[in-house]
Point group: C2
């Protein structure tokens, strides 16, 4: 087997954030490609897969301390015409906020796309995003991923809206609040969010709460 035949290992990261009442994903355009793509890179020697994902995330967004989880590994022989690449794909959920995008090296630019209005992407990246969204929607129902999309403090309405955006369906206000509060995974910070209308209590996620709640589905 000559060097040309060797298989390259890449790490790609699906970076998701809530913006303008929509779930968005960060895509980049490389100088040598005419389609948008999921950001990624070659793994460094001595670097773990997870570290590589965190590094790529940091290079694109400048953010650290973010929820990152392995999604799936894509390795069809023909997924990249140029050479054989096995991509270990991670996904990251970052709290809603304003982010200054850093143009990574070798890229023409980066932009956030509404996940419901994606263009045709490079390689098998549309397939990867489909898979990522399915995973996130599923995990929303029985893990704490929903909280990762919000800042530390949030109102129950903001939390419900986040769930509605990701799931793409309306949820009943009273049932939602009852279930979340009964699950005992939030605590009131004491602060209030003011604005037009009645002020709302602020909550914070009880970190590690899902270790206790575990197998219990939030929305069965």
């Amino acid at each position: 087997m000559n060097d040309h035949d060797r298989i390259a290992v890449a790490v790609d990261v699906v970076i998701c954030m809530l913006q303008n009442e929509a779930l968005t994903v960060l895509l980049i355009k490389r100088s040598d490609q005419d389609r948008w793509a999921i950001p990624g890179g070659i793994i460094g020697v001595g670097e773990s897969l997870q570290s590589a994902a965190v590094r790529i995330l940091e290079e694109e967004t400048g953010m650290a301390d973010v929820y990152v989880e392995q999604l799936y590994t894509f390795g069809e022989p023909d997924r990249d015409q140029r050479k054989r690449v096995v991509s270990v794909v991670y996904y990251a959920l970052i709290p809603a906020q304003q982010i200054e995008l850093k143009a990574g090296s070798g890229t023409d630019g980066a932009a956030w796309f509404n996940v419901d209005e994606l263009p045709r992407l490079a390689f098998d990246h549309n397939e990867i995003l489909d898979y990522a969204l399915t995973r996130i929607r599923n995990k929303l129902e029985y893990t704490d991923v929903g909280f990762q999309l919000l800042p530390e403090e949030f109102t129950l309405t903001e939390l419900q809206t986040a769930y509605e955006i990701v799931l793409g369906e309306h949820l009943d206000k009273r049932n939602f609040r009852r279930k979340i509060l009964q699950a005992n995974i939030l605590h009131e910070t004491g602060g209030m969010r003011t604005g037009e209308g009645r002020p709302a209590k602020l909550y914070r996620y009880r970190d590690g709460a899902f270790v206790e709640v575990k197998a219990r589905r939030l929305f069965p």
Copy 2:
């Protein structure tokens, strides 16, 4: 980066089967290693990850047409002292039966181990097996993986026993039967299994049934 630094891509396969009222996993011992290990191999050029998993499974057991699914990719830099290996791990569930183990090339032998009585394995393979078992137990509750561990025709008691072995807990007979039958994923073959005691009806899994049942948990 010289060739020595390059990263190798391996595919490992956790092969599980029911035997003697226990869930067992197939392990091999390589001539150059003193510990048992999960069977695996280097991926061929032009071979997809899934194909490699199926090939490895066939090499070890002689079986084709088996349930195979990707589990997780393990790639810590120090997981193999000799060189950097990224392992894409699959798991396979094969129907209970007698299997003639083929000694794969370069192996000292292969054997089935009860998953509750595993020795200390090579590399990070204990960790991988823990992860695989957790996944299988979870999927048992909301997918059709349970049926993959049984032959085509089975009695309800055999199915319940399979669930009990994998989950490691006792299930109520009447509740189990009611839930399985109401889920409408089995049909009676008309045949009966005879033996000591009253004969039992034989059932067959309605293939593709979980496409319909989908999100519905069998054991919430």
